[in-house]
Subunit: 306 residues, 2 copies
């Protein structure tokens, strides 16, 4: 599929006004500040086009960016999508990638407002790069750096084993993130992309603090149990260290945690898993023993390179 055809096709199929060198974004002070996230996904690293199919790939490229906007407590507004296409990709495959991306954008009222497509001369694999902007709509964007000793630590959903499929089909926690920003009692937030332990370490590092979680409180996904059958690891290890859960991990003021659990209006599970402390990362086991929590996550491999 040649590039001009694709841009024209995008325009006819609901992408924004792509007729200028730049997209023009109307800004109002009432919606400010703006947040921006940029991500690049590679075939064989973040997805396998051959294994997962083009619609799932387009969906994931948008969903990852939505999750970043959600983690700031903001409202996603516009996406800019760049793609490097294999020379031999079919027009139908490109359309399905776009269909997967557009469907999720529509669901969250995000405009595809610009982008760029280009093709490898030969031999290259698919690259998708999405930049997404969002608006704080009068709230303060929630940083990673605001956690304070004594804060309760929460996480949405269930963790671990996303490689069995959830990394392609997860629902970004946009509504949940927005709700938390509007409440105003969240101190720090991140989305779980590197793994619970690694992303908790990011909050701890940015906030210059430590954290202690309780093993029994970590919400373990069914997929983590399933994966443990073949991985020789415990389901909890998958919940702690698997990447790409795309759940929200956040901290609240000590006095606010009971109210938040009582008020929580979503079907999405919400778990209080520990407390922010001074010092390093620790976990209290089922037997009450306290041990250091390694901040390592690990990385998925797909397709022929797996």
């Amino acid at each position: 599929m040649d590039e001009l055809t694709f841009i024209e096709w995008m325009r006819r199929n609901g992408a924004g006004d792509l007729g200028d060198d730049c997209a023009v974004i109307d800004c109002e002070a009432a919606r400010a500040p703006m947040v921006v996230t940029a991500d690049m996904l590679l075939d064989g690293t973040h997805f396998s086009l051959a294994e997962h199919g083009p619609q799932a790939v387009g969906y994931k490229a948008i969903a990852c960016s939505l999750s970043d906007i959600a983690a700031m407590g903001c409202r996603p507004a516009a996406a800019f999508c760049c793609g490097a296409l294999p020379r031999d990709i079919s027009a139908e495959t490109v359309r399905e990638i776009f269909t997967g991306a557009r469907g999720l954008c529509e669901k969250f009222h995000v405009a595809i407002a610009g982008g760029d497509t280009t093709a490898w001369r030969r031999g290259g694999r698919l690259v998708l790069s999405v930049t997404m902007i969002g608006w704080a709509d009068g709230c303060l964007p929630i940083r990673r750096s605001g956690a304070k000793a004594g804060d309760a630590i929460f996480v949405t959903g269930r963790l671990g084993g996303s490689i069995l499929g959830r990394h392609l089909s997860f629902t970004p926690r946009v509504a949940e993130g927005r709700y938390l920003a509007e409440r105003g009692d969240v101190h720090a937030m991140i989305d779980v992309s590197d793994g619970l332990a690694a992303d908790l370490a990011h909050i701890a590092e940015e906030s210059r603090c430590g954290a202690c979680i309780e093993a029994a409180a970590v919400p373990v996904a069914e997929a983590a149990v399933e994966l443990a059958k073949s991985s020789r690891k415990a389901p909890l290890e998958h919940a702690l260290h698997d990447g790409e859960d795309f759940e929200l991990l956040f901290t609240t003021a000590p006095a606010a945690d009971a109210d938040l659990l009582a008020d929580w209006p979503f079907e999405t599970k919400l778990s209080r898993i520990g407390r922010i402390e001074a010092g390093g990362l620790a976990m209290i086991g089922a037997d009450g023993s306290r041990r250091q929590l390694a901040p390592a996550g690990y990385v998925h491999k797909f397709g022929e390179d797996a």
Copy 2:
């Protein structure tokens, strides 16, 4: 060079606050609206890392985006840079790419405010994707769609033969674009990336008009003359159809053109090359004959695929 190391290195070396899921951009109504451009450059298509070297590659990735912002008459403000790195790339090469990008950003007071780096598991070539935002600072962004019959057509600089080196080292016409936006008498503008004829066709298409240029008025670059010695084409053909000049092509109201030429405060050459008309694209030759102007540009090839 692993990814965490690179992000940390970027932070220490003057990139923006990369510690959150998104960059936070302060917006003021006085600077609105905002413009956004997204481009993706591939090794072997838009540059050759082996042939041109890493600093030139980083420079070009930023310069292309600056040129898009310039073509809207806006002030560039922040860049978001994503890179897919070959597995065997050296840390020194990555640093030099960043050095080339950062140097140009600093020159134009653009913050590197975010991004994402990832590495091919094996065999992939370098991909750089830059999204840049800019501000209209109270002017109206200049679209491609505003040209009117009777407008004078102008182009900055000299055209053709950029493949001999200028495509890597050009100075984006940011100051010139901003000056034109502040004057307020430019109807339509684009940067010459596909070639003069092809980009004039873009203005004509978006503005639902035609155009006629005079061959004798087209500013032909020295490089076009040089390239013509080996290409079996006339220098004018290179000026009309070579891509990646990154000059500004724009139209003004009929009454404004003499004033603009008289007022022009830049060393950058400014040429009045024709008029917007009804109908298609045409060119008047040196002999006074009028012929149709094909809107085709052509595409550079670099490195092993050339």
